[in-house]
């Protein structure tokens, strides 16, 4: 018989996880509001079809957030229990459950440190891509649109940070 000790998280890690969790929760609201301020954000939202649903998750944690685009171009959060469970997110397969929401695209950060780096402006999304900090699943073209969208969003908040003011950044 084997026993497994749950991983012990430092206070620092727990704070990072809380921060990422809050941002994932705020994401649909931020996108819905900021599309009125940024033509760039609006352009990329327009590229995504109504009903398009994406998920952001963080490997090795329970952190995940799912958002779906409304007909009006806003985003709303999809509660975890409404996400289809019989098909893999991002696979493009239809769920047998008509009430469930299927996820079109998934961005899965490979660790909490990478997710925190991006969400706090210490690492640009481009640098995260360069470092293979996340994996993706779903149609490439909408993944590109999401990347442009999040880059514009993050730059609005963290444009003042060093990572956004220099050509390339290493993981802090």
């Amino acid at each position: 018989m084997t026993s497994q000790t749950p991983p012990r998280r430092t206070l620092d890690k727990r704070a990072q996880a809380l921060y990422v969790r809050v941002l994932l929760g705020l994401l649909p609201t931020l996108l819905s509001v900021l599309r009125h301020l940024s033509p760039k954000i609006r352009t990329e939202i327009d590229y995504l079809a109504p009903g398009y649903t994406f998920m952001l998750s963080v490997g090795g944690t329970d952190l995940a957030g799912t958002c779906t685009r409304t007909d009006g171009g806003a985003f709303k959060r999809v509660p975890p229990d409404r996400v289809a469970r019989d098909v893999e997110p991002g696979s493009g397969l239809a769920s047998a459950d008509a009430d469930a929401v299927t996820v079109d695209y998934v961005i899965d950060f490979r660790s909490l440190a990478y997710a925190f780096g991006c969400f706090s402006g210490g690492l640009t999304l481009k640098d995260a891509l360069a470092q293979r900090a996340f994996s993706t699943r779903g149609p490439n073209d909408t993944g590109v649109a999401l990347t442009y969208l999040f880059t514009a969003l993050l730059k609005m908040f963290f444009g003042w940070r060093r990572a956004y003011r220099r050509p390339a950044a290493a993981m802090p």
């Binding site: 493009g92 360069a130 293979r132 993706t136 699943r137």
Partner: protein, 395 residues
Amino acid sequence: MKAFEFCCPTKIIAGTHALDKLPGELADRGVAHPLVMTDAGLVKLGVAAKLTDVLDAAGVAYDVFDQVPPDSSMDVVNEVARLYAARGCDGFVAIGGGSVIDTTKGAAASLACEGVDFATLQGSEILHADLPPFIAVPTTAGTGSEVTLVAVVADTKKHAKLSFTSYKLVPHAAILDPALTASLPPKLTATTGMDALTHAVEAYTSIQKNPVSDAFAVKAIELIAANLPVACRDGANVDARASLALGSLMAGAAFSNAMVGIVHALGHSLGGLCHIPHGQAMMMLLPHCVRFNLYHGVHAGLYGELLGHLAPARAAELGPGAMPAERDLAFCDELFAMNEHCHEQYGVPLKLSELGVAHDQLPAVAKQARYDGAALYNEAEVTLDDALEILEATF
């Protein structure tokens, strides 16, 4: 140092008579009944027979699928996966260009995931299961697909080229035998060779570049620049063919780990919407994209670093005291000169209008290029205006 990953697990078997080692490679991997993948053109030219003759002589039983189209599609990928299972095959041997090898990657990936539709595996690093044994035998020196983690397959309904990336897609062995490329006509040798050169140049300037991919890219540029003119002029030159194939492989290993950029984004879009062959598109676009980047201050100094590898004589002429900007421009000039040479000597078209592309198609091509996966790895964001400007210059 910036964090990076590099992986090239393919066993490389190169040189004269390399193909003779195929039965041994299959036996080492426990393959008793491979599915040989190829296309009708290679069957007609007798190139595929060079491989099947080796299998016949060794008494290896095999099945053949020879209907891979120039632009492979999801339907073909799924058809191959079904055939493989129905015939009880236990490994793949792909002999052909990028389309044949990428179709095989797709079918092998589908089989590794218990026969799922390959279309459901779009994205990066999705595959976790190992592919069935897979040996790639390239017949062009261009795509580098024999060592890359990428499979590009057309979505014929959406008129788009879809790319799939995963380290699990890399073939287990690559056989580079110069006898297989000896009969390639100069025009095709030129366009596929320029495709390989584009892989190396874009890998060297991609946001995912790293010290290891740079080393592969630089050596690839040296090999291609030194051997492409010879292989075009004298197709039977075994040394030039072998070196060119190695250059293509090394460029493939470089871009497999560093990815590509705007040239490929535009090329995929031209392939999907206008059916321009990939190598042809790369050849036309590369110098224009380099000039565009330099004009906009992108990759300043970086292109010049490659001048000594692309054109040693020109680099020597400029001397060690040359300004980086001078080297950058000289690099761009050399690319244009290579294209002009191929145009004059072998009749390779250099304009989109010569290939039947209509001017009113350009905006759609530009839009699809902006949202192509390769665009993300470009240093600067690919805007519609940028893409259109380059397409206009190439038109």
